[in-house]
């Protein structure tokens, strides 16, 4: 039985090593992805339209940091049980995404801290 275990695990690994294949995973569905994309785009338009023009520069650095969500895909590629060259591609992508996350959020906060109304005590 112990003899079988590595084989079993290996079988499971090959089945799920990458993204589950179409048909195996109930959440895998092209149409629902397209729906999500469409709805998210509309939400994006509605939300961004309301952003104050004052804040367009921080907005861009914030959305930059948020779109570094690519880190999720990068980690999956970097950490999976794949050939080394594929892991390396993923790792470079992780470095690039983490750079964006860290610098994006930090600089957004740094800029936003500067937007003040007139303080009563000053002058």
């Amino acid at each position: 039985m112990l003899f079988h275990l590595p084989l079993l695990l290996a079988a499971l690994q090959t089945g799920t090593a990458s993204t589950p294949q179409a048909g195996q995973d109930p959440t895998f569905d092209y149409m629902s992805m397209l729906f999500v994309f469409m709805l998210a785009t509309f939400i994006g338009f509605e939300v961004i339209r309301r952003v104050s023009r004052l804040l367009h520069t921080p907005l861009m650095s914030l959305t930059n940091a948020i779109s570094a969500i690519a880190v999720v895909g990068s980690i999956i590629l970097a950490g999976g049980d794949h050939p080394t060259y594929i892991n390396v591609l993923g790792l470079v992508a992780v470095v690039a995404s983490v750079t964006n996350i860290v610098s994006g959020f930090l600089i957004t906060d740094r800029m936003l801290k500067m937007f003040k109304k007139r303080e009563p005590g000053r002058q």
């Binding site: 995973d25 907005l59 940091a65 779109s67 950490g79 750079t99 002058q123």
Partner: protein
């Protein structure tokens, strides 16, 4: 026994899959809140915290993925990324456009690399994995990713004024044709791969073509168009993340990428409208062609004013409107502007800042610089709100702005900027323009404003001139 073993492992496996999906769901909500809170400077900082929270959830959710085996190398990559990211967030605010362009490049690179990795992985596991849907998504992901990568690097280089990157738009005959052909060939290769994913020789070809296209797309674009181009590249970076989401069947990536993509798109539309130009005109109609037409103007002379004279007029004003432009950023004059603002305000003079949407090198650039100089944000007024007030302004003070105050945009049909909405500096009772020389601005267009009856030039470096004005107004005030 072995069967129950499988069952146990698989249930554990799918339970963690659902946990991951739930973490992604909450992260998505946090990202939407993050952007929603940006609608007001008062709540904007909550937006950053929501964004950070969403990102942490997403990363933790990904790390509990049972398929991951190489945690050490991921940790090292995270450390390296942090080590680069932290100093990048300390750049001076005048360099924010470059930093933003650079981060679009990183975003594009990440998308391109993940797309590449996935293609070769699936090709190796069995080409049947590369369904038409996945292959289409991969092709879009790598085209967008890699063209964003080189395009943004070029934009960052231009903004940083690197010596080996031409600052002026580079144009040549048939440029647009060459660019469009390159893109068409890249898309054609992608389509061929969708038909047969095993024609793997085409894959590196798409990468090279996209990289090249990115460079050639930005070469003809000049500084004045940078706000639009940066916004457009922002949109592409977001869309490449969306494509990655389609490749990886990941709805969090699709949502977050779509938010970024729509944000970049809206900003580009705002920038285009502010210049009265279309996307195609910005991308394919380089400003460089304009120069000849601007050169044919008869010799006119502009009047100059001394610092003392200007200070006297400022002193007697009730409403002063300051119109900043990229020249203010170049001269690092923000602090001096703030001093001038303080001295004028102290005398009971109402001072407002008129912000043109494309002033500077990225959307909102002037607002951030003035906020850094601690000018209260309620004094920063958008172009559409300030223009009706301009005729009541006693003084319009133009600091390093040029095309955005050129009245030719209103009436001169032959002017390349005709139709562009401008700030009506010429309608103020008196107009002072601070400028280093009479050289025409970036677009090479003569500015009528400088020759108008009510306009007086204050020649010199913006920082020095504003500083001198502030000094003049700080002293001697009580003596009169």
């Amino acid at each position: 026994m072995s069967q129950s073993m499988i069952l146990l492992v698989t249930t554990g496996h799918s339970a963690s899959l659902y946990l991951i999906q739930f973490a992604y769901l909450v992260a998505t909500a946090l990202f939407i809140f993050s952007l929603k809170w940006m609608s007001d400077p008062k709540t904007a900082r909550h937006g950053v915290f929501a964004g950070v929270g969403g990102m942490l959830l997403a990363v933790i959710g990904t790390l509990i993925n049972p398929d991951l085996v190489n945690y050490t190398s991921i940790a090292i990559a995270v450390v390296i990324g942090t080590a680069i990211g932290v100093p990048l967030s300390w750049v001076p605010l005048t360099a924010v456009p470059q930093r933003t362009a650079l981060s679009h490049a990183f975003g594009g690179l990440a998308a391109g690399l993940v797309g590449t990795g996935k293609y070769y992985l699936w090709l190796q596991e069995g080409p049947e994995q590369l369904t038409a849907f996945r292959m289409t998504a991969i092709a879009i992901e790598i085209i967008l990713g890699f063209l964003t990568f080189t395009g943004s690097l070029m934009a960052a280089g231009k903004l940083q004024e690197l010596r080996w990157i031409p600052q002026r738009p580079v144009t040549y005959r048939g440029q647009n044709l060459v660019n469009l052909l390159l893109l068409a060939v890249a898309i054609g290769c992608g389509a061929a791969l969708v038909v047969n994913p095993t024609w793997s020789i085409l894959f590196p070809a798409i990468i090279v073509l996209s990289l090249l296209f990115g460079i050639l797309l930005i070469i003809p674009i000049g500084g004045a168009d940078m706000p639009t181009v940066i916004s457009l590249l922002n949109s592409y970076a977001g869309l490449s993340a969306v494509a990655m989401g389609f490749v990886l069947d990941n709805k969090l990536l699709i949502t977050a990428g779509a938010l970024d993509g729509s944000s970049g798109f809206i900003l580009s539309v705002i920038m285009c409208r502010a210049m009265n130009r279309s996307f195609t005109n910005v991308l394919f109609g380089a400003f460089g062609q304009v120069q000849q037409s601007g050169a044919v103007t008869e010799k006119k002379t502009a009047k100059t004013e001394t610092i003392e004279g200007a200070a006297q007029i400022l002193e007697q004003a009730q409403l002063v409107v300051i119109i900043p432009g990229y020249g203010m950023a170049v001269a690092q004059a923000q602090r001096m502007v703030r001093e001038l603002f303080d001295h004028l305000t102290k005398r009971g003079i109402d001072v407002k800042f008129a912000i043109h949407p494309v002033a500077g090198r990225m959307p909102g650039h002037m607002n951030v610089l003035l906020a850094e100089a601690e000018i209260p944000y309620d004094k920063l007024v958008e172009m559409d709100s300030i223009n009706p007030e301009m005729s009541q302004a006693d003084v319009a003070l133009v600091i390093g702005a040029n095309d955005v105050v050129n009245p030719a945009a209103r009436h001169d049909k032959s002017s390349p900027i005709y139709g562009m909405p401008i700030i009506d500096a010429d309608k103020a009772r008196t107009c002072f323009a601070i400028k280093r020389t009479m050289n025409p601005g970036f677009a090479g267009i003569e500015n009528e404003l400088y020759y108008a009856d009510k306009t007086y030039m204050l020649f010199g470096d913006a920082k020095a001139v504003v500083g001198a004005l502030a000094k003049e107004l700080s002293g001697g005030s009580g003596i009169h």
